[in-house]
């Protein structure tokens, strides 16, 4: 075909959904198009079009607004403008205008229909509703995994524990030793440019430098091992282990297409074997002291990485990580009781927030409280204070840092007998103050650990009875649940916020996950169901007066998709030796994932809108 239309072909081939078309169909596609130009501020799609067309933006930008004039989407290069061709979205009424000078390719609906008839995958993009599209994306996401997470199936590149630590051959021995100490590694890769030239280990520093009496200012090349056994990054873990034991080394540089990407050590392999939740929980039960618990808990981020590598969903990771946190907490309580003696009266250790929901990801802050039996005597308080402090300190040492809002059992306010806790909840629900609402994510997501007498159960039932009956409280919770809104989608490499503002990164926690958690909490409280986990709440309330079956299913899909993207983002960061966070940069995700995220956001938004309308209407009724 002609090379000049090849450029248009290549443009289409790199944009969804045209990337789903076979090569020979793409070759023919440019000839089906026409080209139009629109000045900034013109109506779009143009009113003068004589045949209905699909509009593909090649350059420029288009604002789409709903009937109320609210910005609903902003299109840029490669985006499709919804048109009458999209049967499933034909009902959406919107008006568009170019926000920049825009060049668009037009594909007649007739041609689009033909492509849809002939190419099933391509057609799905147009035929499926937003909810269906997200559901099939989720299925793909679940099928992707690299099977079970054992050394038999995991690849070496997923085992590399940290970012590459390297030095130039001319670095002094002293400097090399400093780099190793600073990075806490026992071996150092020596590269010239991208070329691997050698390696030194702790042992080389001892035997070839200190014992040999060599000056520390000599270049590191004088003591490095030059003839190195290396391993390719896609080798299976167990093959790496075999190689290492065969040639009797503890470190192997890992190459990817001839480039050094890291180092793998026997301890990485051993750690991998042991970094699964079952091992960790077993180790935790046997740990004799908080110090040992802290050592064990340092493997939790690895657990998260390995689960994600093994194809786990966010829900599975949340369950596994929470199981470890629960075990740590329980073991700390046991150690405390060993030290302080048995409790004077029965008590329940309460955990709140993500731990209660079983949705933790590696390290979170701790949120907890303590509930003890009403017949406690005033002098018993001192026991529980010491117990609380022991556990809070222990958790902090394990990386579950002190709660910035001081929602911890060591705070006397959150260490109370049952009757006071009842009063707290009754007060919050009668007079929902901002403070109470702020705490709602902790105290209305509450679970008891170590509750021998079922004290918490009693409290929980009381709370559910109150909330079921209290429309005003629910209305406040609704308002609170609508505070965090998802973005509209993406515009170029920005996150598009309602009102047309742009963000450089997506706060995936507050703009994607928290909105669903908040919705599920409102549903659970208004239906009076006891579930705490977000997915379980959605399942339990689906089809009740709180939320429709479809609505709950869509939210569940949105939640799973967003949460899994977040887990993958965090796994990437942990693997790179960075601190895991919630800030996703748009260029970190594929165009396809962006499309699915946008679908997920729009589903959440729909549910938020309908909840808002219901309770607003209810209040004025």
């Amino acid at each position: 075909m002609d090379v000049e239309l090849l450029e248009i072909r290549d443009f289409l081939a790199t944009h969804h959904p045209f990337d789903l078309l076979p090569g020979e169909v793409l070759d023919q596609l440019p000839r089906k198009l026409s080209v139009r130009y629109f000045r900034r501020g013109t109506r779009f799609p143009p009113p003068d079009a004589d045949t209905p067309c699909l509009y593909i933006l090649r350059r420029g930008a288009v604002d789409l607004r709903d009937a109320r004039g609210e910005l609903v989407s902003k299109l840029a290069e490669g985006d499709l403008c919804p048109t009458p061709c999209h049967t499933s979205e034909a009902a959406t009424s919107f008006s568009g205008a170019t926000a920049e000078d825009t060049l668009a390719y037009l594909l007649p609906c007739k041609e689009l229909d033909r492509l849809r008839r002939e190419h099933v995958l391509f057609a799905e993009h147009f035929d499926h509703s937003v909810a269906e599209r997200l559901r099939s994306a989720l299925e793909v996401m679940r099928e992707e995994p690299t099977a079970g997470a054992g050394l038999m199936t995991v690849r070496v590149h997923d085992l590399i524990g940290r970012a590459l630590v390297r030095a130039d051959p001319d670095t002094s021995i002293r400097e090399a030793a400093r780099i190793m100490t600073e990075n806490r590694v026992s071996s150092l890769i020596i590269t010239a440019g991208e070329q691997l030239v050698g390696m030194i280990t702790d042992r080389d520093l001892r035997s070839r430098c200190i014992v040999a009496g060599r000056s520390y200012d000599d270049p590191v090349r004088s003591i490095m091992t030059e003839r190195l056994q290396t391993i390719e990054s896609d080798t299976l873990g167990f093959q790496a282990l075999i190689t290492m034991s065969r040639i009797n080394v503890h470190h192997l540089p890992v190459l990817d297409h001839g480039k050094v990407v890291g180092m793998i050590s026997t301890s990485d392999l051993v750690r991998f074997q042991s970094a699964n939740a079952v091992y960790l929980v077993g180790d935790i039960r046997k740990a004799p002291s908080p110090e040992v618990l802290a050592q064990i808990s340092s493997r939790v981020p690895e657990l998260q990485v390995h689960l994600i590598t093994g194809g786990a969903t966010a829900d599975q990771v949340g369950q596994a990580v929470t199981a470890v946190t629960d075990a740590l907490t329980l073991r700390l309580l046991e150690l405390a009781e060993e030290q302080l003696g048995p409790p004077p009266v029965p008590y329940a250790w309460l955990v709140g927030g993500s731990q209660a929901r079983r949705e933790q990801s590696s390290y979170s802050d701790q949120d907890n409280g303590l509930l003890y039996a009403d017949h406690a005597k005033p002098e018993d308080e001192a026991y529980f204070e010491r117990l609380a402090r022991f556990v809070n300190d222990g958790l902090n040492a394990c990386g579950y840092y002190y709660c910035p809002g001081d929602v911890m059992a060591s705070n006397p306010k959150w260490r109370q007998p049952l009757r006071i806790w009842r009063k707290y909840f009754a007060n919050w629900m009668e007079r929902p103050e901002p403070m109470a609402l702020m705490l709602s994510s902790v105290f209305f997501d509450l679970r008891a650990l170590h509750d021998t007498e079922g004290l918490y159960e009693e409290l929980h039932e009381y709370v559910l009875d109150l909330s079921r009956a209290n429309r005003i409280f629910i209305a406040y919770m609704v308002a609170n649940a609508l505070k965090h809104r998802p973005p509209l989608g993406f515009f170029r490499n920005f996150v598009l916020i309602s009102g047309g503002e742009h963000d450089n990164t997506l706060d995936i926690k507050h703009r994607g996950i928290v909105p669903v958690i908040d919705l599920a909490r409102v549903y659970a409280l208004s239906a009076g169901v006891p579930q705490i986990n977000t997915i379980e709440r959605l399942d339990a309330t689906a089809g009740t007066q709180a939320v429709s079956r479809d609505g709950a299913a869509n939210l569940k899909d949105a939640f799973q998709f967003i949460a899994t993207l977040r887990m993958r983002h965090q796994a990437r960061q942990i693997r790179q030796g960075k601190k895991a966070d919630n800030y996703l940069s748009p260029d970190e995700i594929t165009r396809l994932e962006r499309g699915h995220l946008k679908d997920a956001f729009s589903l959440i938004n729909t549910m938020q809108e309908s909840l808002g309308q219901r309770y607003q209407a209810g209040r004025f009724a």
Partner: protein, 228 residues
């Protein structure tokens, strides 16, 4: 030939009476678009040539690329790119620009066949080119040599429009500001990495759409506003 200042339409009628049967006569039998016609109702053919040099008398056409516009829409189905046979060695200076090698040129089609098809597509349309003097000169010279008369066609020169627009706004400009791709950037047009006759013809077509969109304010404009 009919002397200046007759309109292309008058010259077309005059030549039609004298022309021999053949591609040029067929071309001349279709009337030109009226200058008062709303430009959005006219059809156009945007063209670019690659040549061995700048002198129509001595240099050869190596390739011709063109695409048809219907009103304010470029029809990519009409895009054509034809290599023209030449026996002449291609000077290095021009080969660097258009990347057509001697071998490719030797495999090209005879100019007469290419030109006949081109004329059939051009009939009744306005010709668009960037710095149109080159295209007009080479095409007219070739028509005259092969079919007996020069090419009569209403022309829109996107470079001339750009120059007029700079001057109307009393805006200083450099020679390089008038280049096809630099003008394209001003209008937020895509930039083709490939440089050949068709991609430049398409770039000129898109530039014209942009210039017209800026000139008409959404209300249309007579064709004569854009004609040479």
């Amino acid at each position: 030939m009919a002397p200046w200042p007759f309109t292309p339409e008058l010259r077309r009628r005059w030549l039609l009476r004298k022309a021999q049967p053949g591609p040029l006569r067929d071309y001349l039998s279709v009337p030109c678009a009226a200058p008062r016609l709303d430009y959005r109702r006219a059809t156009y053919l945007a063209v670019d040539l690659e040549t061995t040099g700048l002198d129509p008398k001595r240099d050869d056409i190596l390739s011709i690329g063109y695409v048809i516009l219907r009103g304010n829409s470029v029809d990519l189905a009409s895009a054509r790119h034809r290599l023209v046979h030449t026996a002449r060695a291609i000077p290095e200076a021009s080969a660097v620009i258009h990347q057509i090698t001697d071998d490719q040129a030797a495999r090209g089609e005879p100019l007469e066949a290419v030109l006949a098809d081109f004329l059939a597509d051009l009939a009744g349309k306005v010709m668009i080119a960037h710095h149109a003097r080159v295209e007009q000169g080479f095409l007219s010279t070739a028509c005259k040599r092969l079919f007996g008369h020069g090419l009569v066609v209403p022309i829109i020169d996107t470079q001339a429009i750009a120059r007029r627009s700079f001057e109307r706004r009393h805006q200083a400009y450099k020679g390089s500001d008038l280049r096809l791709h630099n003008l394209g950037e001003r209008y937020n047009l895509p930039r083709n990495k490939a440089h050949n006759a068709l991609s430049d013809a398409l770039a000129a077509a898109e530039l014209f759409l942009a210039q017209a969109a800026y000139a008409d304010g959404g209300k249309g404009a007579p064709l004569r506003d854009f004609l040479q």
